[in-house]
């Protein structure tokens, strides 16, 4: 089947079976490898993209269900204000270890800040609970979201950097 997809503001045409998840359209048909494969079952969040602004697991999203929705991926997120602030915060405290899950983390965090500009700790934990970081960078993920949101920046840095 032929599909016209609106990805990062550009119309892309692909010819794939209707059930192919968006993840594999992005990675193997369009060569957009920023969105990551982690589990294939919607359990880890590595493949998170935005569909009309909402965080969705692209491994669970058949291409036929996407329609004319606006899809945004990690390759584009820096062009949004929230995305740029998150990327900057991520680098300010160097959140990552291996870094593999971080595209999905940033996409989830960006959807969170879009819906809730000043999230508290519980809101952060609940919005980010679907994104696994196997390296365990969770303290810094919390901190970076607080820094990007402009919430208690000193406290956020303290939390991730408290060292006697």
């Amino acid at each position: 089947m032929r599909y016209r997809l609106n990805i990062n503001g550009v119309i892309r045409q692909v010819e794939v079976p209707p059930q192919m998840p968006l993840l594999w359209v992005l990675r193997d048909e369009l060569g957009m490898v920023g969105t990551k494969f982690g589990c294939g079952k919607g359990l880890c969040g590595a493949c998170t993209v935005h569909v009309d602004g909402a965080a969705r697991r692209s491994c669970q999203l058949p291409v036929e269900s996407v329609g004319h929705a606006k899809i945004h991926t990690i390759e584009h997120i820096g062009e949004t204000q929230i995305g740029a602030r998150l990327q900057q915060a991520w680098l300010q405290i160097d959140v990552m270890q291996c870094g593999y899950c971080q595209a999905g983390q940033i996409m989830s965090a960006s959807a969170l800040l879009g819906a809730q500009p000043k999230p508290d700790r519980q809101q952060i934990d609940s919005a980010m609970a679907g994104n696994i970081c196997r390296c365990g960078c969770y303290n810094r993920i919390r901190s970076a979201i607080r820094i990007a949101a402009g919430v208690d920046e000193a406290g956020a840095q303290e939390e991730s950097g408290r060292v006697a």
């Binding site: 969105t35 990551k36 991520w90 270890q97 365990g136 950097g161």
Partner: protein, 737 residues
């Protein structure tokens, strides 16, 4: 197995070669032989390299290029090792560009991410190389200005002559420096720690900026013209062999290009497992097609390899008390018989998987008898050996590019995926193939941390002193050698600290592939031994820090009976006393329902004492805070990465205990498959983690692993303190109250 003794393939002399960089500038290459056993890695861990090399170049525009030779798996070496070079070179970090090296044993010696070895092996050589380059730049400037090099100083990549006010950037004299003979590496002057400008400063990882933008850096991101995507269907049970496959139906499915039954070499451990490759234009199409494969497997070898059978055999062995001697000091049996009080308990832990976030993958192209490979591997040279053994492709005919790996944790020390993709690529010459495993493949075909069982006995005298200690360890192996990472630690405390001690071992055979998982052996031995010693402390009317301090005694080095490094009781004492202080251990818990647990462990040259504060509600355990006191030597190279390694290891250990991680077998078939039944840590369970570095005068050592082992017993000891329930089996499964 990895080679236990260092391999020395080069001349034993240090070689420092200077040359003119293409386009002008200085290129400096150092080849530094390591003394044999410079790094006496613990048994079963990746061995020390025989040669270290460092490459640094300075271009006329002042750009400093440093080659990162080791695999980057998230442990931060691609940043921290070049920091050592750059600091002694005395340039600005912003001048530095890092280049990932390909795999080349002749040039780089060992290129391994394992055993927390990179920091201790590279600490001096990297700095010496940077200092040698600086010395040559100084000489070149001195010659140009007609002054003595002793009158010159450097700062931020510039050479200064204070007397005349002249200065020059490194790039301006780099070509002239390339014509000088390099200094003797051992005589170059190194900075005092107070002079460091880069080492010790929190430094952002060199790939981080690309990662937050979603740029390709990982193995799975490799894209080549004309590339096809592959899956590799292996037997549904460990030890299974391929009889025959009906592939015709699959060949007709959309996007499918090749379906190849592959008979391996019968060695799924280090060679090529039997399987059926499906190659398609899109990975999802290849993976979907698997359900249409009709394959006949011989699963006879897997029969009886079930978790329940292993458990029953371990029970029998423990009741029979029939272990072979591992270590016998004094007469523990007699001391136990005469003890005023005896404590005994049995402990066990399950097989667990590594589950790095980037599923196993590898890309290869076979063309005109040569193989080119792009691999996220922790031990690529072992992969080259496997290619030769299983496929007859000599290492001289392989070009191997290292990619960043999305996590390793020891999984990628084995290279099964590399051999598989090479077998597929060899069958389809000229076409680049990317093999990618599904998460189910990854969970079911791991080299697991093996399960194990321990039966402990301890004897106390009238004063509550520990006077006798025994452990019968039931593990996996062929009767002669333990399976990979199924080994004991002959120095396991209280060994060496009590006079009468007896360790014995029984091996059970297994068809399951086992391997090193972050802090191999230690990740399990810490749990059983520090939990049991907590029981001993309770029986003696003490707490565990007090018992440990009394066992440690005077500050001294206790030699290991094998090739492990000696154990420094003073460094152990210092971290224990530190965490007792930072966690306010002695004080009653501030909030009701919360309780603290303590544990200490020494592994990978690092001394770690940790306290966990937890509360229990029904069957739920909440971890609120963790305090870590660590001695990894005199200097933290990159605090940014170091703190992340410690926090990550703590969270990893908590997940092993609390998330429900256990791999189970039924006739060799793994019962778990993905993150719903092999869960990892998630953000809500993350505690605050406070780190205290205890600086000793010893050279810095690695941080990838040693923070993990103590957190598990610190947690289980906290659960005991909160509830009175002793956790003797992992993962933690409390009954609802």
């Amino acid at each position: 197995m990895l080679h236990k003794s260092p391999r020395v393939s080069l001349d034993r002399r240090t070689v420092l070669k200077a040359s003119l960089l293409a386009g002008g500038g200085l290129a400096l290459e150092a080849l530094i032989p390591l003394p044999v056993r410079a790094l006496d890695g613990a048994a079963g861990e990746p061995a020390a390299p025989g040669v270290l090399s460092a490459f640094v170049s300075i271009a006329p525009d002042g750009t400093v290029r440093i080659v990162a030779k080791n695999p980057e798996i998230g442990q931060g070496v691609k940043t921290s090792l070049p920091m050592m070079v750059a600091d002694e070179l005395d340039c600005e970090w912003s001048q530095v560009r890092i280049e990932q090296a390909d795999v080349d044993q002749k040039r780089y010696g060992s290129q391994v991410a394992g055993g927390s070895t990179a920091t201790p092996t590279n600490w001096l050589p990297m700095r010496q190389t940077g200092a040698a380059a600086r010395a040559m730049l100084l000489e070149a400037a001195a010659a140009r200005w007609g002054v003595s090099s002793g009158e010159l100083t450097t700062s931020k990549g510039r050479i200064l002559h204070a007397a005349s006010g002249r200065s020059a950037g490194y790039g301006e004299v780099a070509s002239a420096a390339a014509r000088l003979s390099p200094p003797d590496l051992k005589s170059v002057r190194l900075k005092e720690p107070a002079q460091f400008t880069i080492i010790g400063k929190p430094t952002v990882g060199v790939d981080s900026a690309r990662i937050v933008e979603g740029k390709p850096v990982f193995g799975i991101d490799t894209r080549l013209p004309g590339m096809l995507y592959a899956v590799y269907e292996v037997a549904p049970a460990h030890g299974g062999r391929l009889i025959k496959a009906d592939v015709e139906a699959v060949k007709r499915l959309p996007g499918i290009r090749h379906v190849l039954p592959i008979h391996g070499d019968g060695d799924p451990d280090q060679g090529l497992a039997d399987g059926v490759a499906i190659v398609a234009s899109n990975w999802w199409l290849a993976n979907q097609a698997r359900s249409r494969l009709v394959v006949e497997w011989d699963l006879s070898a897997a029969k009886g390899h079930s978790t329940s059978v292993y458990q029953a055999k371990a029970d029998e062995a423990i009741v029979a008390d029939s272990g072979a001697d591992l270590r016998r000091d004094g007469d523990a049996a007699a001391k136990l018989a005469a003890a005023a009080k005896r404590v005994s308990a049995r402990y066990d832990y399950p097989f667990i998987a590594h589950a790095p976030m980037e599923p196993q993958n590898c890309t290869a192209c076979y063309r005109e008898g040569r193989l080119e490979v792009w691999a996220p591997s922790q031990n690529p040279n072992a992969g080259l050996a496997s290619l030769e053994k299983a496929l007859g492709i000599a290492r001289e005919r392989v070009t191997l590019h290292l990619t960043r790996a999305g996590g390793g944790f020891g999984r990628r020390l084995l290279n099964d995926y590399m051999v598989q993709v090479a077998a597929i690529a060899k069958a389809i010459p000229g076409v680049p193939i990317q093999l990618l495993w599904s998460r189910e493949d990854d969970i079911r075909r791991d080299y697991y941390r093996p399960g194990g069982w321990h039966s402990f006995q301890a004897g106390l005298d009238q004063q509550g002193n520990l006077v006798a200690f025994t452990d019968h360890f039931v593990t996996f192996g062929d009767g002669k050698t333990t399976a990979r990472a199924a080994n004991f630690n002959l120095s396991l405390p209280p060994a060496g600290l009590v006079e009468d001690l007896h360790f014995t071992q029984t091996m059970l055979p297994t068809v399951v592939t086992t391997g090193w998982l972050r802090a191999p052996a230690s990740n399990a031995l810490s749990f059983v031994s520090q939990s049991f010693l907590d029981e001993v402390a309770v029986a003696a009317g003490k707490d565990l820090p007090t018992l440990m301090l009394s066992l440690l005694g005077a500050r001294r080095e206790v030699a290991a009976p094998d090739d492990r490094p000696p154990f420094d009781t003073g460094r152990a004492r210092d971290v224990i006393e530190k965490v007792v202080q930072t966690s306010s251990w002695a004080r009653k818990p501030a909030q009701s329902g919360r309780a603290k647990g303590f544990a200490f462990y020494f592994s990978h040259r690092g001394y770690f004492a940790e306290v966990v504060e937890a509360s229990v509600s029904g069957s739920d355990v909440a971890v609120h805070r963790v305090w870590v006191a660590a001695d990894v030597g005199s200097q933290i190279v990159n605090p940014m990465g170091a703190e992340n390694q410690v926090r990550g290891a703590v969270i990893d250990g908590l997940a092993q205990a609390l998330a429900g991680q256990a791999i189970e077998f039924a006739d060799g078939a793994v019962q778990q498959s993905n993150f719903h039944d092999f869960p990892l840590a998630r953000i809500p369970m993350t505690p605050e983690i406070e780190i205290a570095w205890v600086k000793s005068d010893k050279p810095p050592t690695g941080l990838g692993e040693p923070a993990l082992p103590p957190v598990i017993p610190a947690l289980t000891n906290a659960i005991f303190a909160a509830t009175g329930t002793r956790i003797r089996s992992l993962p933690v499964r409390l009954k609802s109250a």
